[in-house]
Symmetry: C2
Subunit: 129 residues, 2 copies
């Protein structure tokens, strides 16, 4: 765990919503190169410290968003899903992920394996409706 990785992970952990590479870069105070931020996020995801999803929004286009995953080995956090507001572009966490059971059924039905799934809502939050 290098300094840059520790820093990025801490930023994700303290964030209350998914963060783009650019956001992490900025919060890191430009203390390292953007390319390093990208490589760092890849590392964190690959090693189970974070997960990501791509989301398209009219205003910001297509970007990858990252969230911390509580400690690869110890912690138990199931992964999370989010609602994204098209007005203020904030994220709101969606409660318990009920997709796993659906995935299980699908796996059996088709004799295949689902390694992960992506789910998110798009709409307008109470402030922006």
């Amino acid at each position: 765990m290098t300094k840059a990785r520790e820093a990025a992970l801490e930023i994700l952990r303290n964030a209350d919503e998914p963060q783009t590479a650019a956001a992490v870069f900025q919060q890191a105070g430009n203390s390292c190169d953007l390319a390093t931020v990208y490589r760092t996020l890849h590392y964190l995801e690959k090693h189970g410290y974070a997960e990501s999803f791509v989301l398209y929004c009219n205003e910001h286009g297509t970007e990858r968003y990252y969230t911390a995953l509580s400690s690869g080995n110890s912690g138990s956090s199931a992964h999370r899903h989010w609602f994204h507001c098209e007005g203020c572009h904030r994220f709101i966490e969606i409660g318990n992920c009920t997709v796993n059971s659906l995935a299980k059924e699908f796996e059996i039905e088709h004799n295949l394996s689902v390694s992960r799934h992506i789910l998110y809502f798009i709409g307008r939050c109470s402030d922006c409706r």
Copy 2:
């Protein structure tokens, strides 16, 4: 409905899985410009003839995939969700979308409105496991 739009929509309707702009372009036999294909897909989505989602895959990177939506006014097709195989990159349709009820609950709980949602599975199909 121009000729190019009709052609693109027909391609989406005949496809048994989501198509990228490049795929539509190619199937159209390069009969029109790629830029036109993009504009056409935007048109189809905006007017309820198609829907899309962005998906990231190691091999093809981040791309937008389109599917036909049975006829904006008449047809009744609820939208669909897909499983994407990381081995052969084929898509398999996931049965009935059970996310709407989840979205409804979320709307009430947070007093907001969910206009759409994105859900897909990633994994390996029976041929590729």
